[in-house]
């Protein structure tokens, strides 16, 4: 237990620093936008109406969706301007969080500034103050406590929402939460939650101190609050200031197999003398783009994913022909080098309980189609929208009674408990064997091949030392070994961390 806590805590300083950096940057940007806008809006009801409506609209978009929206937006912008804008990491996270922070700051600033007693404003005019003087001497000081309360709300929201920026490749305390959720490592989840909550609470208290100082006109309180915040900022971001050169960034999507393979790649590169960082929990759409832009250096993808998502192909080819086509496509379109296939497949596999398979004689997807009208379907959050589902439906007349989405963590227990009757499992997942689930065959070959393949960023393709360190992994991992490795991380008892499992896996490589 102590071991797990130590491992979780050891990642905190760096992630906390990145978390503070992105939150503070977003908050400052929001303040820079909102305060002048609020001054304008306080004098023009029309501007106030438009600005507040837009800010409220933004607030109705879920944080995760807002982050996801900035990815294609920035990609489009980058294409329009001939490249140079990174759609990955800091920038999309900054923009999304800034938009999120606008409403509370803007609303409070407009309320504060336009809520100044008309008699006081008339006195200011009567005394011969210019607009600027009225703002400086009268309106700003009177609105300050209200404005400060808005900044305080925005700060707490931003710190909370920043945990979601993990999904677009910006490191944050969310890395711990997402990784922990995927591998059912509650120590990681708890650590991530604990530190982001502690950060939010302490910032809230300190900003509250400043707010009280302003409201009660006790300057010493306000200054003390500001000094404490400045000191906290400095200490929290200290890990960022230690410069590191030539860091290798290894990408991983958000499930156990990816975490393990990333650590396996990382440990081999560390042995070869590289300094390594991980970007975990990236979305499928984000990760390939990030690699081609050089934001990450290496990751493992699956042939079918690239085939259907990036290359937008709907046809099928043999495994080897498909790999050749993909290698040529990535190299000529993005300069991305496909180092090779790792030797196992992780495809969509329809799995049922053993009893059902026996009693209803289920062996293939044709058999499933026969009973599908009585079956409840459990699937991951994206499968129903993916082309593979369309391909399966085109090949087999399957019509399920109901369909429900789960995170992979909860999908397997749902099948085991009878909540659903069939799931779209992943063929390399250790929980299939561990639960004695039966995988149905696909005699018509409707689901494309999902060979695990290692992809290198353009600048790493010609790095001989880099390639030499990773080449031994090509064709070296069997599906049996990968299943076992996945299960070591996914199982409930005697769980191993992805790093421990990676070192186990390194000893099981096929020569």
């Amino acid at each position: 237990m102590n071991e797990a806590w130590n491992q979780a805590f050891s990642r905190v300083p760096e992630l906390l620093a990145a978390h503070v950096q992105i939150s503070v940057s977003a908050l400052f940007l929001a303040m820079i936008i909102c305060l002048p806008l609020a001054i304008w809006a306080a004098r023009s009801p029309r501007v106030a109406a438009v600005a507040l409506t837009v800010a409220s609209l933004v607030q109705t978009i879920p944080g995760l969706a807002l982050l996801a929206l900035f990815y294609p937006l920035l990609l489009g912008l980058s294409a329009l301007l001939g490249g140079g804008i990174s759609a990955f990491g800091f920038l999309p996270a900054l923009l999304a969080l800034t938009l999120y922070a606008l409403l509370p700051i803007l609303r409070n600033a407009v309320t504060g500034l336009s809520g100044v007693d008309p008699a006081v404003a008339e006195a200011a005019d009567g005394l011969g103050m210019t607009r600027g003087q009225r703002l400086y001497f009268v309106e700003a000081p009177l609105a300050a406590p209200t404005i400060m309360a808005g900044i305080r709300t925005a700060a707490v929201w931003t710190i909370g929402a920043a945990t979601l920026s993990t999904t677009v490749g910006q490191p944050s305390l969310g890395d711990l939460i997402f990784a922990g959720l995927q591998t059912q490592n509650w120590t990681l989840v708890l650590t991530g939650c604990l530190f982001s909550a502690a950060l939010a609470i302490s910032v809230d208290l300190l900003l509250g101190l400043i707010e009280r100082g302003i409201r009660e006109r006790r300057k010493i309180l306000a200054w003390a609050g500001m000094a404490l915040i400045a000191a906290g900022l400095l200490i929290a971001t200290l890990p960022l200031m230690i410069a590191r050169d030539n860091i290798v960034v290894i990408g991983a999507k958000g499930f156990s197999e990816q975490y393990i393979l990333a650590r396996l790649i990382g440990s081999r590169l560390e042995d070869a003398g590289y300094t390594v960082r991980y970007r975990d929990g990236l979305g499928s759409a984000v990760v390939y783009q990030a690699l081609s832009e050089g934001d990450i250096d290496v990751y493992v993808d699956y042939s079918g994913t690239l085939w259907t998502n990036q290359m937008e192909r709907g046809d099928s080819q043999s495994k080897t022909a498909m790999l050749d086509t993909i290698a040529r496509w990535t190299s000529s379109n993005h300069g991305v080098k496909m180092l090779g296939a790792l030797g196992f497949e992780n495809t969509y596999a329809f799995a049922v309980r053993t009893e059902d398979a026996r009693e209803k004689t289920l062996r293939t997807l044709d058999d499933l189609a026969r009973v599908s009208s009585d079956f409840n379907f459990g699937t991951d959050v994206e499968f129903l929208e993916r082309p593979e589902w369309q391909m399966v439906q085109d090949a087999y007349p399957i019509h399920f009674k109901t369909a429900r989405s789960f995170s992979p963590t909860f999908m397997y227990p749902a099948l085991a408990s009878g909540e659903v009757d069939v799931i779209s499992a992943f063929s390399s997942d250790g929980r299939i064997a561990a639960n004695n689930f039966v995988v149905l065959e696909d005699p018509k070959g409707a689901v494309p091949s999902y060979e695990a393949i290692m992809l290198l960023a353009p600048k790493r393709g010609n790095d001989d030392k880099f390639v030499a360190a990773l080449n031994p992994l090509i064709g070296a991992i069997t599906v049996e070994v990968m299943r076992e490795a996945n299960y070591m991380v996914d199982r409930k008892d005697d769980k191993k961390t992805p790093r421990q499992t990676a070192s186990w896996l390194n000893g099981k490589l096929k020569e």
């Binding site: 007693d117 008309p118 008699a119 006081v120 404003a121 008339e122 006195a123 200011a124 005019d125 009567g126 005394l127 011969g128 103050m129 210019t130 003087q133 001497f137 009268v138 000081p141 009177l142 006109r217």
Partner: protein, 257 residues
């Protein structure tokens, strides 16, 4: 008595709010050093007329001069710094001490020296104790607050004072006190003062010239004595009738007891 206040002249001044004409082609000469009361019912245009002099309201047409200079020949905020303005809602700055409230005009003018001394002088002038200087506005009574309002308006030594129902929200005793004291201040400093009021009794007591407004026009222009003698016409007579009747009633009561 030394006169330092300017004369005022209005030439065919009008102000429209949409289709409503609040002030209708008013022409008027006010002598330097006079204390003029603008009297009328609500909506008669008296406040609008007053606020056009320091350009809190801009006229739709016509010209206004203070001394020889048209009010729109300089920036509005420069003009206002030379004119004292006191109004019913007072408008003290709640986040500033009394001293800073009084001295704010000096601060705007960039006068750094002798501010504290001037604040002391002004507190004496409006008969407030010196230890008020460090208090905050919400610690003062309404009457005390309006004394500060008058002191603040006088800080930059303006020659012209514009007062919009300045004592209207105060209790009768405080109000009577302040009215008395302001009249004395006006004479002592040689100011030109225009005071808007709906209270004819106050106007009769305070002013040396009374202008009665109705429907945006000046319907009567007379001294208090002329008004009381009933020579100025019906509108004025209606307004004077009330205090006169009240006074007669009070006298009768006094005799019968």
């Amino acid at each position: 008595m030394r006169v330092t206040g300017p004369s005022i002249s209005l030439h065919k001044v009008s102000r429209d709010y949409g289709t409503v004409r609040a002030v209708d082609s008013v022409s008027l000469e006010i002598a330097a050093g006079s204390l003029v009361a603008l009297v009328g019912l609500s909506g008669s245009g008296k406040s609008t007329l007053l606020k056009m002099i320091n350009r809190l309201v801009e006229p739709t047409s016509g010209t206004i001069r203070i001394g020889d200079a048209a009010v729109d020949s300089i920036d509005a905020h420069i003009l206002r710094r030379r004119i004292g303005y006191v109004f019913q809602n007072i408008g003290l700055f709640p986040h500033m001490t009394i001293a800073r409230n009084i001295a704010i005009g000096l601060e705007l003018a960039g006068e750094a020296e002798g501010r504290a001394a001037r604040v002391g002088e002004l507190l004496d002038l409006v008969e407030l104790p010196q230890d008020m200087a460090s208090r905050m506005p919400d610690q003062l009574s309404g009457g005390q607050q309006q004394r500060v309002g008058v002191a603040r308006a006088l800080a930059t030594r303006p020659g012209l004072m514009l007062m919009d129902e300045p004592f209207g929200a105060l209790d009768p005793v405080t109000r009577d006190n302040l009215t008395d004291q302001y009249k004395a201040l006006h004479d002592k400093l040689g100011l030109t003062t225009i005071i808007v009021t709906h209270d004819m009794a106050e106007a009769l007591y305070l002013a040396d010239r009374i202008l009665v407004m109705e429907g945006g026009q000046i319907r009567a222009d007379a001294t208090p004595a002329e008004l009381l003698s009933g020579k100025v016409g019906e509108e004025a007579e209606a307004l004077v009738a009330i205090p006169r009747a009240q006074a007669a009633h009070l006298i009768a009561l006094g005799k019968s007891s």
